[in-house]
């Protein structure tokens, strides 16, 4: 069955360092991969989308890579700040008529200590 795995353990990073979060998937061929940020008690906030034919996408301090051979996406936050502390979710979509097929990972909790 389709499966998405994100770092199950919380990630604790020193402020200023680069945080790297992992999203691995099996039995799936996504056309799109999205990353969201979620704060406690709030809905997810969309950060980045990367397509299967894109290797890398950047937005300010964020960088996402997508390796369809390894079936893996890496999410990097450079120059991390305590305000970056949150849970980060990856989501996979197959393409056309995607909304009903979207699959979320269980998220990785990131803590940035001053």
């Amino acid at each position: 069955s389709q499966k998405i795995e994100q770092n199950s353990e919380a990630l604790n990073i020193q402020e200023g360092k680069t945080a790297t979060l992992t999203c691995n998937y099996t039995n799936y061929s996504p056309a799109y991969l999205q990353w969201y940020r979620q704060d406690p008690g709030r809905g997810p906030v969309f950060l980045l989308l990367i397509r299967e034919n894109e290797k890398e996408k950047r937005k300010e301090r964020l960088k996402v890579t997508f390796d369809t051979t390894l079936k893996q996406s890496l999410f990097h936050i450079t120059a991390s700040q305590p305000a970056d502390s949150a849970t980060y979710l990856c989501a996979l979509l197959p393409g056309y008529s995607s909304a009903s097929k979207i699959i979320f990972g269980s998220g990785t909790r990131l803590s940035i200590r001053p």
């Binding site: 998405i4 799109y32 999205q34 969201y36 008690g41 709030r42 809905g43 997810p44 906030v45 969309f46 950060l47 989308l49 979710l89 989501a91 979509l93 393409g95 056309y96 008529s97 995607s98 909304a99 009903s100 097929k101 979207i102 699959i103 979320f104 990972g105 269980s106 998220g107």
Partner: protein, 116 residues
């Protein structure tokens, strides 16, 4: 401009009762999707509506139903509540129906449902 709004924010119900959750999408968005998020897990797709028609249904029992109104707002109904229905229920809206836009899905803050 208001984002996706959901009501109520919190709700406590007893097993066997029925509940209705409401969602208003961003102005101009015609697609609304509903998700259930159990603590410690990612959101799980329940329904999508686009232009008032059901476009997709997740793996949820028939106790779950939804509809979309002419103004594109939506309701999620859950009958015969079980303890396992306790979760954060999220609504997301999108300007596009089938293909994800470059802006992804915009979620509301959710309704926290507790079944006792």
């Amino acid at each position: 401009d208001a984002g996706v709004t959901q009501s109520p924010t919190h709700l406590i119900k007893t097993r066997g009762q029925q509940v209705t959750l409401r969602c208003s999408p961003i102005s101009g968005h015609k697609s609304v999707s509903w998700y259930q998020q159990v603590l410690g897990q990612g959101p799980q797709f329940i329904f999508q509506y686009y232009e008032k028609e059901e476009r997709g249904r997740g793996n949820f029992p028939d106790r779950f139903s939804a509809r979309q109104f002419p103004n594109y707002s939506s309701e999620l109904n859950v009958n015969a509540l079980l303890l396992g229905d306790s979760a954060l229920y999220l609504c997301a809206s999108s300007s596009m129906g089938d293909l994800p836009s470059n802006y992804g899905y915009t979620f509301g803050s959710g309704t926290r449902l507790t079944v006792v």
